[in-house]
């Protein structure tokens, strides 16, 4: 039984490392800005590859710009915390799903191929709202 549990654990680990594929890249950042990945805090240097479940955190003078592999683009404003809690994209089929959580601050979005692939395939969650993005450009603001 224990052997099976350990075996399953290994499979889960393999699946996790497989899922940790590139979903986006940092294009620019300025001021106080951090990419939080689990217990790690990464410096958002241009070209840094992002993974699903990364959180983009900025201080009062911080900004980050990000482009996803489906062409979705983000600009994260100051005093913000934005997580990409789910991201799946098939480059060949150009279909996928994405959930972004804006816990505080501001986020500008130009949606990409995921939003076009299926109705409400791209979702944005704020502390009080769940939005379904149907192909557009918008800003979400969540004051502290």
């Amino acid at each position: 039984m224990r052997g099976i549990a350990i075996g399953l654990g290994l499979i889960a680990l393999i699946a996790t490392s497989d899922a940790a594929a590139e979903i986006a890249r940092i294009k620019t950042s300025s001021g106080t800005a951090t990419v939080v990945r689990g217990s790690q805090k990464l410096k958002p240097a241009p070209g840094l590859q992002l993974e699903a479940r990364d959180t983009l955190v900025t201080g009062k003078d911080g900004r980050m710009a990000v482009t996803f592999i489906d062409n979705t683009r983000f600009a994260v404003g100051p005093n913000s915390s934005v997580s990409v809690s789910e991201f799946q994209y098939d480059r060949t089929q150009q279909k996928g799903a994405m959930v972004t959580q804006v816990d505080r601050g501001s986020l500008a979005v130009v949606s990409g191929k995921i939003a076009k692939s299926n109705r409400d395939a791209m979702k944005v969650r704020t502390p009080n709202t769940l939005l379904g993005v149907r192909g557009t450009k918008f800003i979400v603001e969540v004051p502290q």
Binding site: R25, T28, A45, A65, R73, D120, K137, V140
Partner: protein, 194 residues
Amino acid sequence: MSRAWLIAAPLLLAGCATSSLVLMPDDEGHQGSVAVLEANGKPTEAVISEQSRTKLGDATPNSKPLGADGLKKDEAALLTNLPPPAKSFLLYFDQGTVNLVPSSAGVLANLRAEIASRSGPEVEVIGHTDTVGSAEDNDKLSVRRAEQVLEWLVSQGFDRSEMSAVGRGERDLKVATEDNTDNAANRRVEVIVR
């Protein structure tokens, strides 16, 4: 104790109920829409589909036109910080080879300039063929075409970790043709620069 909580709860909800949405047309001028699927934990079916500012959290969102003042200063600054849109380049090849047609040489120069101009670029190279020859051979040829372009970019000083190359064989024809049809438009490599 519980009574104090009952009084405090609506205040707490009000405190976090001030998320807002500013909806705009995209860069090509198309006006998209955003659906409010849930507000304060309850499902809704509202759709915001005009250029507007909306306070979020109500079951029926109250959208207001952006008005004469337009965007706030912070919002305009945020939009300025968006990365440039992805840009796509097409390179064409001689029949059955990895040799670029002469007219694509200039595109290579533009491609190089575009990558060099970007901060933290990602380059996706996708090779294609026409339908002359077997599907298996065309898979291989399309990969060789893509790798040829990638290697050229490496020779120009770009980092391999910025780039990926795949071949799609004759699966994604630009111009639909019968099998075994010579077609210059289909013998291509698409390069997407993000």
